[in-house]
């Protein structure tokens, strides 16, 4: 037993000297998951060849997947809604654009520099905002979204004003110019898988548990020694970095950035995608991005319907499926499995 008052050593279990059995999972369930993931990956790879017409849409959906995926720690676990992610997309988009255009930095370096700047901005803002209770944080971030849109059209010197920043170069990767829709799609597919894997690892580690605890009961969490403000700031920084990378990719893909791309409506739709799919899941943001960005596939005139449908969907999902579509689906599967086991 290690009940004696532990010293400050890093490893609390020294002295137990025993390897712990891995969490026992249903092996067939694990196998099924691998099969599902493989099929999904295969579909993702083949899709742009089967239906070339939708590659452009898939690129945009993948960008918004990155952006909304970034929010899952903050919104899904810590329970803080940020309506201001367009600020970080703007830093990513305009920042990378300006660095490549004016200073001739390589595209990847520009994107990384912009992401670092976004992270720093989120750190400072997080320190300030996260003192605010509940939805006052959401409202402060809404202020950011409005300011972003205004700055994008008002700060003409940097952003090019309402007509936008033009002639942004395409992404250069190891000497290869990522220009076509298909090339952009595959770069984003890899980036998305890496980001999702990173988030999955964080979610099943102590940080994921800590953020869940904070979202459920900040008071009890602090009694476990958790500095809630620190963790929420960290989650905000993560969201900013991914939003910034998404924004940079958006700029490299469109080769153009304008206030319209970063409107308050876009800030709303990022949150809508996440809430729709399921804020605590990894498939959720993917599903949300595909639904919201994919609506226009149904027809050109359907693009006009998008805000209305997205708004109504959000109302219905938040009312009846608070865990989002994917979250509800997986909960249903788990319950069904448990019922089967008990028989």
């Amino acid at each position: 037993m290690t009940l004696s008052p532990a010293d400050e050593s890093v490893s609390p279990a020294t002295g137990t000297g025993r390897f712990l059995p891995r969490r026992e999972r249903n092996p067939t369930g694990d196998g099924r998951r691998t099969v599902t993931a493989t099929i999904a990956l295969a579909v993702a790879v083949v899709l742009p060849f089967l239906v070339p017409g939708i590659t452009g849409l898939l690129v945009v959906a993948a960008i918004f997947f990155l952006v909304s995926l970034g929010l899952t720690l903050l919104m899904g676990h810590a329970g803080q809604v940020s309506l201001g992610q367009t600020l970080f997309m703007a830093i990513g988009g305009y920042g990378a654009g300006a660095l490549t255009l004016s200073w001739h930095w390589p595209t990847t370096v520009s994107a990384i520099a912009a992401a670092a700047l976004s992270g720093a901005v989120a750190f400072v803002l997080g320190r300030l905002f996260l003192r605010l209770r509940g939805y006052y944080f959401a409202l402060a971030t809404l202020g950011l979204a409005v300011a972003t849109q205004s700055l994008a059209s008002g700060w003409t010197g940097l952003t090019g004003g309402p007509s936008g920043m033009v002639a942004i170069p395409s992404l250069q990767l190891a000497g290869y110019t990522v220009f076509s829709d298909r090339a952009n799609y595959f770069v984003l597919l890899v980036a998305g898988i890496l980001a999702a894997a990173f988030m999955a690892n964080v979610k099943r580690s102590q940080t994921g548990r800590v953020l869940t605890a904070i979202g459920h009961d900040p008071g009890a969490a602090s009694m476990l020694g958790i500095n809630t403000a620190r963790y929420k700031t960290m989650a905000f920084v993560v969201s900013a970095v991914l939003a910034s990378l998404g924004g940079s990719m958006y700029a490299f893909y469109l080769r153009f950035m304008s206030p319209e791309v970063l409107s308050v409506t876009v800030a709303f739709s990022i949150v809508i995608m996440l809430a729709l799919g399921g804020a605590r899941t990894l498939v959720g943001p993917l599903l949300g991005a595909l639904i919201i960005q994919g609506l226009p596939i149904a027809g050109q005139s359907f693009a006009l319907w998008e805000p209305l449908v997205a708004g109504l969907l959000l109302i219905v999902v938040m009312t009846y499926l608070p865990r989002g579509i994917w979250g509800t689906f997986t909960a249903y599967l788990r319950n069904a499995a448990r019922r089967r086991d008990s028989h």
Binding site: G79, V81, L83, L128, F129, R131, L132, R133, G134, Y135, Y136, A138, L139, A140, L142, G143, L144, V146, A147, Q149, S150, L151, S153, G154, W155, P218, S263, V264, T265, F268, S269, V271, I272, A275, L304, W305, E306, P307, L308, V309, A310, G311, L312, L313, L314, I315, M318, T319, Y320, P322
Partner: protein, 292 residues
């Protein structure tokens, strides 16, 4: 100098609209603790409805006002019953905010679908030339806008302080759960709050559209500016909402005269954020639960 006074006057007129939006949000917030972000959206929607009704029915604009007011009182009552009641049953405050975000998005989408992204305006309520006092030009519609605000404030004051039902509303606002325990039908009180809020949105929308252009893109900017006024005034404080709305309109007017409108917007947002951080209870508010 007269130019400056003209700017101040224009700012105050805009401020009346913000005050009306903030007033509606404040009433709903104090009864239900729901921040109805969509309120500004309803202002634009009611204004565009008035334009279309006026064209369709051919009635004078002043006759359209009561129709739109009644219509939107009913619309918001329906929103309460169809959207808010089922949601508030289950959802936390955070999710309620997302639901009003959805509502705002849906209103914007509806406006886009029906009216397209085109600016609309309407004839003034009363014809008649602008009055010029000391070089400052005042169009008659300004009086209607100020009148709309005064009507809303006076009506609300009368309802809250001179009627039995007002007493119920004030009791609910002070402490919803205690009010429920005392046998007050909180659901009905909230329905009335939403109805009032709809009437105020329609008043604001119909009064302002003759002096401005409204369209799809103004939905979010009205929603956000009105919301800032509500927070700055202290959510739940009616006097604060009116005061903050007027001040905000004034500041925006003055700012956009000397800088661009975009920078004025940025300044307003910075003010909001500073306010939220350092004085989260607003100018006249008394909510103590904002900061941890």
């Amino acid at each position: 100098m007269t130019g400056f006074i003209q700017v101040v006057l224009g700012g105050l007129v805009d401020g009346c609209v913000y005050a009306l939006i903030a007033l509606g949000m404040s009433v709903v917030y104090s009864i239900s603790r729901i921040i109805n972000l969509a309120q500004g959206g309803f202002v634009v929607l009611s204004a565009l409805t008035a334009v279309s009704l006026q064209q369709f029915l051919g009635l004078p604009p002043l006759a359209i006002v009561p129709i739109v007011v009644v219509l939107f009182a009913a619309v918001l009552a329906a929103v309460d019953r169809i959207v808010m009641v089922p949601a508030a049953h289950r959802a936390t405050n955070d999710r309620m905010l997302l639901i009003t975000v959805g509502l705002l998005q849906a209103i914007g989408g509806f406006v886009l679908l029906v009216w397209g992204n085109l600016p609309y305006t309407m004839q003034p309520f009363t014809s008649g030339a602008a009055v010029t006092i000391g070089g400052v030009r005042i169009v008659p519609q300004y009086f209607w806008i100020i009148g709309a605000l005064l009507l809303a404030v006076a009506g609300l004051w009368y309802l809250l302080h001179r009627t039995r039902f007002g007493l119920t509303m004030r009791a609910t606002a002070a402490n919803p759960s205690a009010a429920a325990l005392q046998g007050i039908h909180v659901g009905r009180t909230r329905l009335v709050a939403f109805t009032l809020c709809g009437a105020m949105a329609a008043l604001a929308g119909t009064a302002v559209i003759p002096v401005t252009f409204l369209q799809f893109t103004t939905v979010t900017s009205y929603a956000v500016t009105g919301f800032i006024a509500a927070v700055a005034g202290g959510l739940g404080s009616t006097a604060g909402a009116v005061l903050a709305g007027l001040v905000l309109g004034l500041l925006q007017g003055v700012f956009s005269r000397y800088t661009s409108g975009d920078l004025a917007q940025v300044a307003a947002m910075t003010a909001l954020i500073v306010l939220l951080i350092f004085r989260p209870t607003g100018l006249l508010g008394r909510t103590s639960e904002v900061r941890r």
